[in-house]
């Protein structure tokens, strides 16, 4: 009995002495132990990760939590202003962050900084464009995006990534519009093109299903795909590739910030610094959930040649020129775009 008591006391003491915990609201790529464990070991802390999809879901989670429950927030780059408006984010000590090493095109100052303060930093980016099976269809055939919805050449061979913002942005670009200029008046033309796309599509799929659909040969083309779908599959299925059509691609990015109500801000900032370091960036870029470009250009020194080839490291200057940022609609346009997307799903 005495031994049990001593063991219990020791366990309780160890638990009390055990490290601080950090609570992070993240995208699935942050849940890779290969990314998180080095930070936990280096700081003797436990990082609790809550994964979510969609900023709406994240905001609901935060609303239902107590102030101080969350420390770190990974959020869609274009949604950072929503989080700043809601007072969720704390200013970051930019002098301690590798801001000069971030690819200039993805800094997104207008979204992430306000009144001289920076509230979030881009940590990863990529493209919503076209992933395809190059044994079944050539990049030349896909060079004109309009062929995806205006002809039946690819009927039954397409899957559409189920996220309205990037795909509607792509369609807008295919119709000759700028993603930043999309207005309600453009929606009828975009909706008609989406209806054409849906008619040719086998399915409209989430992240996991989009990889499955391509990998199993269910479809040959994924509209809205990119390196985040095919790079991780490249080693086993080199026939799966991605390309940017003549009209360009949509660029997505995710950002990281610290919650204003965090009670462990110092540790949270350390986590942000780790994620933005070249080592953290390389691990994040090749995370088990999905691969994509690291925002810190110095991660190139840590990534292997094979990893850089899958990410098309050397093509980035050209890709960044040809890509436009996700549409960033205001509340009313956002609701109208979601309505059009739901109509497409139901069409």
């Amino acid at each position: 009995m005495r031994t049990i008591l001593l063991a219990t006391v020791a366990a309780v003491a160890a638990s009390a002495a055990q490290a601080e915990e950090l609570n992070a609201l993240v995208w699935c790529d942050h849940t890779d132990p290969a990314l998180i464990e080095p930070f936990e070991k280096a700081h003797g802390v436990k990082v609790n990760l809550k994964e979510y999809e969609g900023t709406g879901t994240a905001l609901s989670i935060v609303e239902q939590s107590r102030p101080g429950d969350w420390d770190v927030f990974v959020i869609d780059g274009i949604d950072v202003p929503r989080a700043i408006d809601a007072g969720l984010l704390a200013p970051l000590p930019v002098a301690e962050l590798p801001m000069a090493d971030i690819f200039p095109e993805v800094v997104l100052d207008g979204f992430q900084s306000r009144d001289g303060n920076t509230y979030a930093v881009t940590e990863k980016f990529g493209y919503n464009t076209i992933s395809y099976n190059k044994e079944k269809v050539s990049a030349e055939e896909l060079s004109d995006m309009q062929a995806l919805w205006s002809s039946d050449e690819f009927a039954g061979r397409i899957a559409i990534y189920d996220y309205y913002l990037p795909v509607m942005g792509m369609v807008a670009m295919g119709l000759g519009k700028q993603t930043a200029d999309i207005a309600e008046g453009d929606l009828p033309a975009i909706r008609d093109a989406l209806f054409g796309l849906k008619k040719n599509a086998r399915s409209v799929v989430d992240v996991v299903s989009s990889q499955t659909a391509l990998a199993t040969g269910e479809v040959d083309i994924l509209v809205g795909g990119g390196e985040w779908v095919t790079a991780i599959l490249a080693a086993d299925q080199p026939e799966l590739d991605w390309m940017i059509p003549d009209q360009g691609a949509v660029r997505w990015s995710q950002s990281i910030g610290v919650f204003a109500d965090s009670e462990r801000k110092e540790l949270a900032v350390e986590f942000v610094k780790y994620i933005l370091s070249p080592e953290g960036q390389a691990r994040l870029a090749t995370s088990s959930c999905y691969w994509a470009m690291p925002a810190n250009a110095k991660a190139g020194k840590v990534l292997t040649d094979q990893q850089k080839a899958a990410l098309r490291w050397d093509d980035q200057p050209d890709y960044l020129k040809r890509a436009q940022l996700y549409p960033a609609p205001d509340g009313d346009l956002d609701a109208a775009m979601q309505d059009a997307w739901t109509e497409m799903l139901q069409h």
């Binding site: 899957a159 269910e218 609701a335 309505d339």
Partner: protein, 285 residues
């Protein structure tokens, strides 16, 4: 009221109080909050407490929202009917043809797929039904078809996934009813000259209707409220009501519209319960 009667009443209230409090805290209050929220509005990115029926008007006036309800009803009715038709013979075989000492094992085998995760089972079906999946490969290998059938990402795939799940559920409820049926009823009918079909039609089937209806109602409720199977197997080829509710929550953070659609869903389930309850009562009478 005498003192013992009052004491008895207090004891009775004390006995039911935990259940009442539980229901109040975890059903009545949340339901009232959801009903209230369904009357608010999302304007821009804000939820505004304006009390009106605009979310319900939107639901009725937008074909893609109303269509989701029809899709849900069509799929649910189809799944319920197919599941009953498949589950009844299975339950009957286990109850009537399998030796009593092996019935427990037979039931365990029948419900074996329950032991795997619902999500994993749905993803497994995508591999079975895919263009290059097990089913198409088997059919092509057997020379029955030349080109793969397009089964995945269709309503057929959704119905298949649902039926696989609900046949197990219905088998349990119908089996439970069948084994309670005294064999003398059927013997009496046979003695009076009824053939096997007439015995089944006039004796066995009516007496097992409670089991069928309980299982069918559970199937209806679980199926019409399910999001996972249509999302994974349906490939978003069409939307059902729970998917539209999830879109309001996950994409737009439009809690008022999600609440309104949830009230619609609850109304349908309540109507199904009223229909089943009344029907079952009549049968028992």
């Amino acid at each position: 009221m005498t003192t013992p009667e009052r004491a008895e009443r207090r004891r009775a209230w004390a006995a039911v109080a935990p259940a009442l409090l539980w229901t109040l805290a975890f059903f009545v209050v949340p339901f009232a909050m959801m009903a209230a929220m369904s009357l608010w509005q999302r304007q821009g990115r804000e939820v505004v407490r304006i009390w009106d029926l605009s979310n319900y008007q939107d639901f009725l006036s937008k074909p893609h929202l109303l269509g989701a309800l029809w899709n849900s009803l069509e799929i649910t009715v189809l799944v319920t009917v197919i599941s009953v038709v498949l589950a009844y013979p299975l339950a009957w075989i286990i109850a009537e043809r399998v030796p009593r000492h092996l019935q427990r094992l037979a039931l365990a085998l029948a419900v074996l797929p329950f032991w795997t995760s619902y999500v994993v089972r749905s993803y497994a079906w995508t591999l079975v039904l895919a263009k290059n999946g097990v089913l198409n490969q088997a059919l092509i290998g057997a020379g029955l078809i030349a080109e793969p059938l397009e089964i995945s990402a269709t309503r057929g795939a959704t119905v298949t996934g649902f039926v696989h799940f609900f046949v197990m559920l219905l088998t349990l409820t119908i089996y439970a009813n069948l084994v309670q049926l005294p064999a003398n009823y059927r013997r009496a009918a046979a003695d009076l000259g009824a053939g096997p079909l007439a015995v089944f039609w006039h004796v066995t089937l009516p007496l097992t209707l409670p089991g069928i209806m309980v299982g069918a109602f559970l199937t209806f409720v679980l199926c019409i409220g399910d999001y996972i199977t249509p999302q994974i197997l349906g490939g978003n080829s069409e939307l059902v009501l729970p998917q539209v509710i999830m879109l309001q929550l996950g994409r737009g953070a439009d809690l008022p519209m999600a609440a309104a659609l949830s009230i619609v869903l609850m109304t349908v389930v309540t109507a199904a319960w009223l229909a089943c309850a009344r029907w079952l009562r009549l049968e028992r009478a």
